[in-house]
Structure formats: C-alpha cells, structure tokens
Symmetry: C2
Subunit: 467 residues, 2 copies
C-alpha cells in the first residue's frame, strides 16, 4: 500500500470548475491538489492545433453577455475575447428548403412564425417563475416536472413547422431532444441563461464571443497558477471518508489524503466513483436520473474561409441530419478557414451508430449543401465525439429527467460529509455552461473554506509542496 500524499483539499477533475475551485482554495492559503483522469486539463474544453499558432476548439467555446463569471476569470488570467464571426447571410435549412435567416427575427411564414414566437414568450414567462437555485420551489414545479418539454410542445405549439424550429433550437442549445428532459429542468436552464433568445443568439447571445487562444487556455492558465500541478492520468476510483479526513484512491494506485474533497466531474462520472460511506440513496438516484446530452463537433479546415466571399456568414440552422447548426470558426487571424458543425440530440445518436468515415462523409455533405462542393474537401477534419469520451460520457452537460428535480433536487449541492460538489451541472446561473462551471467551483470552494475556517491556514502552505 502506497503512503498517501497529503493536502488540505483534493479536487477531483481538472475542468474549469475544479480548477477554479482549486485556485480559490489555494488563494486562501490551503494546500490543494487536483487529480484528473485524462492526460490533460480542460475537461469539456479542448484546443486543437491548426499550425502557425492557430487553434480550433473541439469542446465548449462560446461566451456572451451575462456570463460574467467566466469572463471575470478569463480577465484574471489575461485571456481576452473576440467576436464570433457574424457577418454575411445566415441560412435556415428547413423542410428541405434553404433560405436566409435571422435568429432575432425568425421568419418561417406567418402562422409558424407567430406560433414560434408565442411559444418562446410563453416558455420565457414560465421560466421566470422557476428559481434556478431551487427549481422544485416553483409554484407549478410538480406539474412541470411531470412532463417533458416535448410533451408540452405537442400541446402548446400548434403549428408543426414552429415545433420543428423550436426542437432545432433546443437541440442546438442543449444537445438533447425535447422529449428527453423534464420541462421544469429546461425552464430552470432558461431562467439561469437569461431567457431563450439570449441562449439561441450569436450577437447579444450566448454565442457572441470566443476566447483568444481557445477556451482550453483558461484551464491551462488556471492549472499553471496552482502551487502544485494537477496529477494527470489519475482517474479517481474510490473516495473513503473516516473520522479525520478523506482518502482518495486513484487508478494507478496513488492515494491522496485530505480534510475535504471537491468532486468536479459530470454526473455520469461522479456516479462511477465508489464513495465510502456511499452517497445518500437520493443523491445516487439524482445521478441515475441525470443522463448527458449527445454532441459531436466537427471542424472542417480549409485554406481560407471561402464561403465569406460568397456572402455567407457560415451560420446555419438545420432540421436535416446530421448537422443541426453550423458556424464559421475561423481563427481571428482569418486563416485557415474553419467550418464548425454540431451534430446534436437524435441526429447525433444516429450518427454514432455509423462508422467514423461515414459520419464524416455525411457531415461534409451538409457543408457542401450549404456552401458548395468545395466544402466537401477540407484539408483536415477535427472531431470531438464527446459521448465516446470515457472521461466525459456526453455533452454539453447532464440534464434531469422528469420527476428528478422535485424528488432529489434538494440534494444536488448538499455536501456528503467532507465531500463537496462542483461542476457546471450544480450551478445556479448558466447551468451547463463554462460560466456555470466557474460559479459552481467558487461556491464549492467557499463551502470548503467555511468548513475549514475554524482552523488557521497552515503557515507557508501556499508555497509548500505536499507529500
């Protein structure tokens, strides 16, 4: 048996949430150690090298107004933002027909447009009554948690084409199908994201900006700023609490010992850690009722963004499988040209049943349909298939199925003895976003600091090396 490595706090997971928690704990003078299953930091953010110092982002990448937390942390680290490419004609590929498109003024014919806008207004009004920190206290919580968004849409969005458009928006924003999810959950997320329009939009919305150097840079700088580097390739298998502390058992056999632990991983991964004592049954059930969305992200790299010359913005919303939404993801330098295609929800599930070369062929066929044959032959294709990633198991995030919020919601952030919960799924603003990852990490850090405030920070711990 190995001798444990001692710290004050162990953080499980080197995504944004865990690294922010670790940063705040280290700033308060405590020894903190981050352990990570992967061979890299960043979790659901990942930069791919395009050469010449340019990067493409294989995971989460966007930010926008209202996402103050991630932007504050980025600013702390000296990471700037720039505007997502948003000039030129956007396209809507709906019912087999391609037409120009504006997310802020969605026009799909008079009846369908009215029906879509009415549904959007109604969902926003309902969402305003759902407190994101405790959705189970909404006045109509039980009713809305007993149905899915898809069921609600079937009854309240009478025009089929409006329903199709709303489903497209849901897929693009959350990577699940409307029928997969508790209506109450969606409403909490809508409220936590400042309304549907903000979630859907590029300009003035959640897709407005990107981080210079790529979003993974934030995690890399957070990790670099820690007194001790994250322990990579150390999947956590067991977390054992006793009267005086916690022992964290990792895959390679390394033991870590700490007063407190912060678990900052998605629900499907937290469920796979063996906690001793076990989590309360209600929290186990919460995780068992928290599947994760399905998203594949395709980045097709060309010598230049040739679609710009033809007047296209690169942005597409589509009801045609496999790509539901596309963006111009060209780096700010303007070269190489990068088209980004999201396969999400049901179409993504069907794509996953095909061999990777066939998937890619179909994605490129979507690009060619919108931007011409030249799109079919990129010089490089980069794929993020997040459901197939062992240490993610589904993107963009975990979501709750019907009945779960009202039954178990009160246990979501409740510490399990010395174990605290972070991760964007535990956020109360921008749930499932990078911004939520930050606030969840800071909240967990605050819990740990409050719990350990009784005893003084160990002298010199800030600069010390443990173990």
């Amino acid at each position: 048996m190995t001798t444990p490595v001692h710290s004050d706090v162990v953080v499980v997971g080197a995504g944004i949430s865990g690294l922010v928690a670790a940063r705040r704990i280290a700033e308060a003078g405590y020894r903190v150690r981050v352990v990570e299953a992967r061979d890299r930091v960043g979790g659901r953010t990942l930069n791919a090298d395009l050469g010449d110092g340019q990067v493409a982002e294989v995971g989460g990448q966007f930010t926008g107004p209202g996402q103050d937390a991630i932007q504050r942390v980025a600013a702390e680290l000296g990471v700037t933002t720039y505007a997502t490419h948003d000039t030129g004609t956007h396209l809507l590929d709906l019912g087999g027909r391609i037409r120009p498109w504006s997310v802020s003024e969605p026009w799909i014919g008079p009846a369908a447009s009215l029906s879509f806008l009415a549904a959007q207004r109604r969902l926003n009004r309902m969402a305003a009554t759902v407190p994101p920190h405790e959705p189970w206290r909404a006045p109509r919580a039980r009713e809305w948690d007993a149905e899915t968004l898809g069921g609600w849409m079937r009854r309240h969005v009478p025009v089929p084409r409006a329903r199709v458009l709303l489903a497209m928006a849901v897929r693009a924003v959350w990577a699940f199908e409307p029928e997969d999810v508790s209506l109450l959950h969606v409403l909490a997320c809508v409220n936590a994201g400042d309304g549907l329009q903000r979630l859907m939009r590029t300009r003035d919305g959640a897709q407005q900006d990107r981080f210079t150097g790529g979003s993974q840079r934030i995690s890399e700088l957070l990790a670099d700023g820690l007194p001790e580097p994250p322990l990579l390739r150390h999947p956590v298998r067991r977390v054992v609490q006793d009267g005086t502390g916690v022992t964290v058992h990792t895959g390679p056999g390394t033991l870590l010992r700490a007063d407190r632990v912060v678990v900052a991983v998605p629900p499907q991964l937290a469920a796979r850690i063996a906690f001793e004592p076990r989590m309360p049954p209600g929290r186990e059930q919460l995780l068992a009722r928290s599947p994760q969305g399905t998203a594949l992200k395709y980045l097709a790299v060309y010598d230049e963004p040739f679609w710009r010359a033809a007047g296209f913005s690169g942005q597409v919303a589509s009801d045609r499988a496999p790509v539901a939404s596309a963006f111009d993801n060209t780096p700010p330098a303007g070269r190489p040209g990068v088209l980004l295609g999201f396969a999400v929800g049901g179409p993504a599930r069907r794509l996953l049943e095909l061999p990777p070369p066939v998937r890619q062929e179909r994605v490129l066929a979507s690009f060619a349909r919108w931007f011409g044959e030249r799109a079919r032959t990129p010089r490089q294709v980069i794929v993020g298939s997040w459901s197939e990633e062992e240490w993610t198991r589904g993107c963009y995030a975990g979501y709750l199925t019907p009945g779960a919020w009202t039954a178990h919601g009160h246990l979501l952030r409740e510490p399990h003895g010395r174990v605290h919960w972070a991760g964007s799924e535990t956020a109360t603003r921008w749930i499932g976003f990078m911004d939520g990852a930050v606030t969840a990490g800071e909240r967990a850090a605050a819990e740990v600091l409050t719990a350990t405030a009784a005893r003084p920070a160990p002298v010199g711990a800030r600069d010390g090396r443990s173990g």
Copy 2:
C-alpha cells in the same frame, strides 16, 4: 497477473436470470461459470430465516397466472407454490380514512370509482397497441414516449381521488412515481403483464402465489444444479473482448476467459462495468436513462398473525406514508405471524433520508394504525432496503425515462460482440418480474448457443471442472 480460468461461457450475476441462462448453457454441454459480486446467489430475491425452518422473503416473492416461465423453472426444480394469504377484510387507507377494500371492485365513491375504472380501461387499451418486444414500433410510440404516466394522468384522470388511487397502484406495482417514467414504458410493462388488473391483484393476479421455501430457493437450486458453483464475492470490473474471446476481470483480481459472456445484472450495475471495447454510445445512454425504482420491504414478525382473528386479511393499500401496501406474509405453517409492508416510490425516498430506527418506528406506526397497538411491538423486524444495496441499487427494477425507448430501445438486447444481455429488464413478458428474469436468461442462452453452434460442444464438458 493471474492465469485466467477458462470456460466456454461466463455469466455475470447469480440472480434468477443469470442462473437460468447458465443452466440452459450447461444443459447444452458447454462449460459455464457464473460470477457474482455478493456472497450469495439470488440477486433481488433473498430468504431470511425465521427459525423452525420457516423463512421470510426480503426481496421478490410473488407469482401468479400468466407467469408460466418462472413456474416452469420452479417445477423443474421441485419448488411448489402456495396461495398468498387472501382471506379476511382488505383495507384502503385513503385521504385519512380507513375503509374495507376490494382490488377487483374498487369503490371510492361514484365519480372517483368511475374515473379510476375509465383510466384503467383506457391504459389497458393503449397498452394493447404497444408490442413489449419493440415498444418503439407502437403506432403512437413517439407521442407516448414524450410524456410521463404522471403527465398523462393529470390530463386524463379528472377526479383527484381517482388519480391518487391510480398513483398508489403504480407505486405498489413498480416502485416508481407516475411522473418518473415514460408513458410508453409503463404501457409496454402493462401489456407484458397482461393488463393493469392482473398486475394489481392478489387473487387472479401477480400477487396470487408464493414459492414454498421462499423464492431465493429457486436460485439456490439452480446454482446447486450447475456443474461448477458460482464464484461468489467476485464483482466484475472489466470485460475485455479480443479477436478470440473475452476476459472478465473481477474485483479480487481473478481473471476468467470465455468465448462468450452473458451479463445478467440490473442496468445501473451493467453501467458500472468497464467494457473494452466500450458499449455502443446508444446502449450506454440507454443505461444512463434507466434508473431503478425505490423500494424498502419491512417484515414485522409476531408470535402469531393476530390480525386474522380480528377479521383482517393483512392486505392494505394506502396513500399515507411510509407504507403503500401491506400483506400477510405469514409462512404456510401459520406461525410466526409476519406483516409485510412495502415503502415504494416517493414515500420510500423520504424514508431513506431518515435514520433506520426512525424509519422502522414509522413503518410500525402504519401497521399499528391498521391492526392495533400490538402491531407496534414485533419480536423481530427484517428490512430489505434495496436502493442501499451496493449490488442492486434500486428495486423492483430498472425503468426507462421519456425518450429512451424510441431513441435507444433497439439496442436493449443487441449483443455487444461476444457479450449478451440478460436480466429481467431485457424481458418481453413480465418485464421486471422473476418471470421476465427467466425468459430473458433463456433468450440470452439461446443467443449464445446459436453463436457457438458452429463448433461441437467439448466432449465431457458437462461434468468437467475448468481452470
């Protein structure tokens, strides 16, 4: 590294499903080895010793008409059945009032009774259109998979008291709340269980009979009949396939090697096994969308079944937490007296948040409310808390949340290379029942035998010892 123990087939899980699969494979002349995480066989069935050769059943116990498969296997093994105690007055504890009660003629006032019966008829009619072997092919599959049973009840069962009664029945039959589950899933289960009445009833229903010697006896005899005994205390951690076979890695480090593997464990446990190669993403998502019900089973043991003298059958249906349904579970000898109380669904979840002594006090208070103060002081209380069992994680069974059947149902029984799937959750008759465990095990065995039929059974394998 240990040398692997060789068999033709390894079966993971020594519940009824795995043991039946193993029996059929052994009968065909192949070497089969069952591995089990627990120190016992029987899975979700368990006998507790009451002394004097009497047993009480802590897990699944009932059978009834239509459950031909479990009764056929029991007969093969020489296990007989006897009738569940069903004489005397049944009680309904509804809205704070206790009254006599008949499941076959439910009377709760004119409007509520009509509303309840109409809902029952309508659900049965809908269920008849849902093929249990492929619910996703029901004509209205997408619509019904987009809503929960609870949502449907809010719209189609107008009388509140009828809705309460229906929710009580749902809890008692499946141990989940109506809002937890896909309507399509419930309809498939109703069809697979020959209609709601049969599922709810004692006489002429799924609670009609019990197995002499206790239901776990079936698993014990199945295990005794195998050429090689199950390997107990060997939780399976990894299942690794290569070009020539499968290696099964167990907790203590023992390796087993086989041509084929049958996995016969509940979905939440299957999800915790590391498969290499990974399961297809769709099957992983299916498991991630398959939580398990919440059931605690309390057996209060008294010197005699004193309630019988007072004219009570011991059967109660109740909307009062924590006990939703009660039975007289006295062994056929007539002594000791045993009251059985099921805490299921939401009330069970709330019970699990209390310390065990408080839970027990509340359960006994329910018994005392119905059968008098004497019920408060049993000589012994036996508890099955199946959500807290590491190797079960929830009873009676796994169920599917909205959207899962239509998205992933076609993958439920699809073998993963050399890995086949059993367990009652994969059944097409009596899904989640002991009967379904048998047919699922036999189906998986048939798949394995078909796959291996190309080569002759090894000579003498039936009596041989492997390793």
